[in-house]
């Protein structure tokens, strides 16, 4: 119950916060404030999505978007690591959260079988992604890149409380490392519960580690989607759009 409510609130809250931030970033800098007007406009903006998301064409474009992003950011064979990672993760998150929220018994039956199978592929993919991408998000490398982003005046993360943009690279790194650590805990708790060395209280502990790690992972994935995939692509799309006018 606690997990269900907490996870729902956090996921919905983070999604709203990120979309609200994205909405604010579209506004002129002097209008980027928490005002009732902005909030009402934001609601209208979000509500407008429903029509586009009901169209298959929109989803098709999202998929094309993701595929293109993958090809661009994962060179050569490594793209075949990213795609399974993304695909498995979507199923893992959807099945896990759906059953946690709506089914009292939790995950069971065929969805559970598929969950376990997808989990194995996810663990392998995540390990490889960590191996090839960890160096990108090492803390000492974030400073220069943040400065470069600021120089390029790329859209940062608008923080209304600080009233300034934070370099996106910090969010990217945060999302990446939380996602990796959560994935590590997910794999560890799965392995632990499958080994015949741990008693019932330990099984319960592993179960809780698994589901709270999953929540952290989903939150990180949402943040990554916003800050790494959509933002970078949008930025590069923006660059492409600006070129003809120059």
């Amino acid at each position: 119950m606690i997990f269900g409510i907490t996870s729902f609130v956090l996921i919905v809250g983070l999604s709203l916060r990120l979309t609200f931030g994205r909405y604010l970033s579209r506004l002129p800098e002097e209008n980027r404030k928490f005002t009732v007007k902005n909030f009402k406009d934001y609601i209208k903006w979000v509500a407008g999505w429903k029509f586009s998301f009901l169209k298959l064409e929109r989803w098709d474009r999202c998929l094309d978007y993701l595929i293109a992003w993958g090809r661009k950011n994962y060179q050569g064979w490594t793209v075949w690591v990213f795609y399974p990672l993304a695909l498995c993760y979507v199923y893992l998150a959807l099945s896990g959260m759906f059953f946690a929220w709506f089914v009292k018994r939790g995950l069971y039956g065929f969805p559970l079988l598929l969950h376990v199978a997808a989990g194995a592929l996810f663990a392998i993919s995540l390990t490889i992604v960590l191996f090839i991408k960890a160096r990108v998000y090492l803390p000492e490398k974030l400073g220069p890149r943040a400065a470069a982003q600021e120089n390029q005046q790329k859209g940062g993360f608008w923080c209304p409380l600080l009233k300034k943009s934070i370099a996106r690279i910090y969010l990217e790194a945060l999302a990446f490392w939380v996602f990796v650590v959560a994935g590590f805990l997910l794999a560890l708790s799965t392995l632990g519960s499958m080994l015949p060395y741990f008693n019932y209280p330990a099984q319960i502990f592993f179960f809780h580690v698994h589901r709270w790690s999953a929540l952290a992972s989903v939150l990180a994935a949402i943040l990554a989607l916003d800050s790494i995939i959509v933002e970078v692509q949008a930025a590069s799309a923006g660059e492409r759009a600006e070129k003809p006018s120059r």
Binding site: G109, A120, T127, K133, R135, V136, T190, Q203
Partner: protein, 814 residues
């Protein structure tokens, strides 16, 4: 001014007076309301009390336990049913009455509400338990009867069984009380309570710690309808002779013994053992909490495959030194703790959840009604290493720890109450029916899986408005006895041929691959022949009369030269033919040998030429007019061949014939036979058809014992104990056992009973083939990820502490 003051004072006085009056009125009103409420409550209380009872102040409850752990030696006077003290040496002493002997110290009325006595009013939360089984070995009936209301259980009311009938059927495993003590208004015309006496609660049946206490004696006495004498006889305090069942219905205890009949209708009498009484005629009784043997008299279970008691392991708790009553406790209410999860006791002061598996081994949490401490009675706390928590949410503890270890198919078992175990005497009491099997794993309404016992009901039924109502098997038997008395009739015929058998030999008949010989019950015992010991093996539809002695089999009918018969042979033939006469049905028994025929004419053996072709081997047969009919009819041979040595009682041919004859004799009723999960009835062409009906479905009930040790629990050898492609748990096939030999048999898969679906379990089982590899891969991933994360942490720590310098690695981010 003064006037004004006066007026003010006056008005104040008036105001005070009116307030006083109003207050008085209110107080009076309140008193009136209170009195009215009290009176109405009193009247209400009076109306709830049955006539004759008085409203009393709540009496101070008598303390039922002194605080001592010692079970006191009972040196007490025994009273008879007239509340008169028994003098053992007195002639014609009456049996003792527990109601009047125990009541002075232990409230009989309280105890009579206990689990073992108050069958009719079991609490609604009670889990279903093994029903009683109405069994008839001739008509193929095994019908579950219970006072508990569950699908498939027939209540005595539904079957029209009066208390009297219920007690006479099942008193062998009743502890008395309940239906054994019906009130006067509940007595039915078929009852003989005035002769038998009431079946009072047999306190000594459980509590008497004496080597003389004998369950078999109890059974013997209740079968003789000696209800009021049964407890005395079973306790060993006295011997009881006589049978109430043979007394006329008009006999009454006040009539005393009948001096004119000392052989048949002997009035039951008690001869007390004076050594068990002291000089003041007080009985000396040791009455501790019940010993295990007392419980096992009615609650034994054993696999049918076991050939001796030595093959059967006892419950691990008993081996550890516990007694049944250590867990299955009760207080004066005698409401037994059954020990299942969610049990709620309505009369007992005990906390039921303290005595569940979890209650002792894990310490049931206080919010679930327990005390929260594990290790009760020395129970070890289980580790359950490597078992995912879903098992504890979805499975009862007994799934892995109780009952017989699962085989590919559930194993047939005997239980005391169903199959009459634990009754010893000259006769073999154990009955093959009902056929129960265990374990099957069934998901119950609480979504948990329990190990259970299963059986398919078999009974004759009347179809009315699409519903099936069982018909009394005696009614069916009386309508068509020749069909159901198949074995008995053949046994009688064979017994008639004893004069023809050699010394020490007994007649038998070989049909197909089986040898049938008469048994002591007047029926037939069948044995499968490994190889035909006789030169000529009977063909299909044929039979061979044989004689048997200690495994030696010879032809029964003597071969001799009829022109020059040896001395004594013809006398034997005469004797056999005379024996057969009662079964002739208008025909004549004859013996054929060569060209001669032997028959009885005016009481003498007559030998004459038969005419026609001489017979190659001697024959016993029937002469009907000019026609020779075989000794055993085609119906008898066919059906005995079909049944063979199997456990079945009836064939489809018997059922078809019975239904045909019943439809002729009772054309207004539509009858059917229910067995093996199907309803058998006749179609328009008079052929047997099998249909389905919910009343034919299998019934199950949870089992709890015997509990196996942890080392023998399911899962001890790993997940594949249950989860594999050929799992016995999920893919074991449970086929209906039935008294009817038929190809129509209901069968269920374990996965279906658990409602998990065989496909899912197959795929899930398949995953266990790749699990070792899965674990290795996962472990490798965890290791690599862990190392990388560790490297990052070390690097960050190094930088933070200044140990490691700034290093610039290649950036691969694109």
């Amino acid at each position: 001014m003064r006037r004004q003051n006066d007026r003010r004072q006056e008005s104040r006085r008036i105001t005070l007076r009116s307030i006083w009056h109003t207050g008085l009125l209110l107080v009076s009103l309140a008193v009136f309301i209170l009195m009215a409420v009290s009176v109405s409550r009193l009247l209400e209380a009076r109306s709830e009390v049955s006539p004759g009872q008085e409203i009393k102040l709540k009496a101070e409850e008598k303390k039922e336990w002194s605080g001592s752990q010692l079970s006191p030696l009972h040196r007490i006077p025994l009273n008879d049913e007239f509340n008169q003290k028994i003098v053992p040496a007195a002639p014609n002493a009456l049996p003792f009455s527990t109601r009047y002997s125990c009541e002075p110290c232990h409230s009989y009325s309280t105890i009579s509400q206990g689990t073992h006595f108050n069958y009719k009013n079991r609490p609604a939360v009670d889990r279903r338990t093994e029903p009683w089984f109405l069994v008839d070995n001739r008509t193929g009936v095994q019908l579950p009867i219970s006072f508990q209301k569950y699908p498939g259980f027939w209540s005595p009311e539904q079957l029209g069984l009066s208390d009297w009938r219920f007690v006479t059927l099942f008193a062998r495993n009743l502890s008395g009380g309940g239906p054994g003590e019906p009130s006067d208004e509940n007595q039915t015309p078929d009852s003989r309570w005035n002769v038998s006496g009431k079946l009072e609660i047999n306190c000594l049946g459980c509590h008497h710690k004496s080597p003389l206490q004998d369950h078999s004696e109890w059974v013997k006495q209740v079968m003789r309808e000696n209800f009021r004498w049964a407890a005395t006889a079973a306790s060993g305090l006295g011997e009881v002779v006589g049978m109430a069942s043979r007394l006329p219905a008009t006999w009454n205890i006040a009539d005393g013994p009948n001096p004119d009949d000392r052989e048949w209708a002997v009035v039951p009498q008690v001869r007390y053992n004076p050594n068990l009484f002291d000089s003041k005629n007080n009985a000396v009784l040791e009455l501790p909490p019940p010993e295990d043997d007392r419980c096992l008299a009615c609650h034994s279970v054993s696999p049918r495959t076991a050939k001796s008691r030595a093959e059967v392991d006892r419950d691990v708790h008993l081996q550890a030194g516990l007694k049944c009553v250590d867990c299955h406790r009760h207080d004066l209410s005698h409401e037994m703790v059954r020990g299942f999860e969610g049990e709620k006791l309505s009369r007992s002061n005990l906390q039921a959840q303290d005595f569940t598996c979890a209650g002792c081994h894990l310490g049931q949490k206080p919010e679930k009604g327990g005390k929260g401490f594990a290790g009760r009675l020395g129970a070890p706390r289980p580790a359950h290493k490597g078992i995912p928590k879903v098992h504890f949410e979805r499975l009862a503890c007994t799934v892995c720890h109780s009952g017989l270890l699962p085989e590919k198919e559930p194993q047939p078992i005997y239980t005391s109450r169903a199959n009459r175990l634990g009754i010893f005497g000259k006769a073999v009491w154990t009955s093959e029916y009902p056929q129960l099997v265990e374990p099957v794993f069934v998901r119950e309404a609480d979504k948990k899986v329990y190990p259970e016992r299963i059986m398919w009901p078999a009974f004759w039924a009347e179809i009315k408005d699409g519903e099936l109502k069982p018909v009394d098997s005696q009614e069916i038997l009386a309508a068509v006895p020749e069909i159901f008395n198949l074995k008995e009739n053949v046994a009688s015929l064979l017994n008639s041929l004893i004069p023809l058998a050699g010394e020490g030999f007994y007649p038998a008949v070989i049909i197909s691959d089986c040898l049938f010989e008469p048994n002591v019950d007047g029926s037939l015992k069948a044995r499968l022949l490994e190889k035909t010991p006789l030169a000529a093996k009977p063909g299909k539809g044929k039979f061979l009369l044989a004689q048997l002695k200690n495994g030696e089999v010879r032809p029964l009918l003597p071969e001799f030269d009829p022109d020059n018969p040896p001395a004594g042979v013809e006398d034997k033939v005469l004797s056999a033919l005379q024996n057969l006469k009662p079964f002739a049905n208008g025909r004549q028994p004859v013996f054929l040998i060569g060209k001669y025929i032997y028959r009885i004419t005016e009481g003498y053996l007559d030998k004459a030429e038969k005419g026609g072709e001489p017979v190659s081997t001697p024959e016993i047969c029937w002469l009907a007019g000019d026609e020779f009919q075989p000794f055993l009819s085609g119906f008898q041979v066919r059906n005995l061949a079909a049944i063979g040595s199997g456990p079945e009682i009836l064939t489809e041919e018997q059922v078809t014939l019975a239904l045909k004859k019943l439809s002729e004799t009772k054309p207004d009723r539509k009858l059917a036979y229910v067995a093996s999960g199907f309803v058998f009835s006749l179609d328009k062409n008079g052929k047997l058809k099998a249909g389905q009906h919910r009343a034919a479905r299998a019934i199950t009930w949870p089992l709890a014992h015997n509990v196996r040790p942890a080392q023998q629990a399911l899962g001890k050898n790993g997940c594949t104990d249950c989860h594999s492609l050929n799992s016995r748990i999920f893919f074991g096939k449970i086929e209906a056992s039935s008294p009817l030999k038929t190809s129509h048999r209901d069968s269920r898969l374990g996965a279906d009973l658990m409602k998990t679906g065989p496909l899912f379990q197959f795929l899930f089982g398949f995953t266990f083939l790749v699990r070792p590899a899965f674990k290795l891969v996962l472990a490798a991933c965890v290791l690599v990820m862990g190392l990388l994360l560790l490297a990052v942490i070390i690097r960050m720590t190094g930088r933070a502490s200044g140990i490691s310098g700034d290093s610039s690695g290649p950036e691969s981010r694109s």
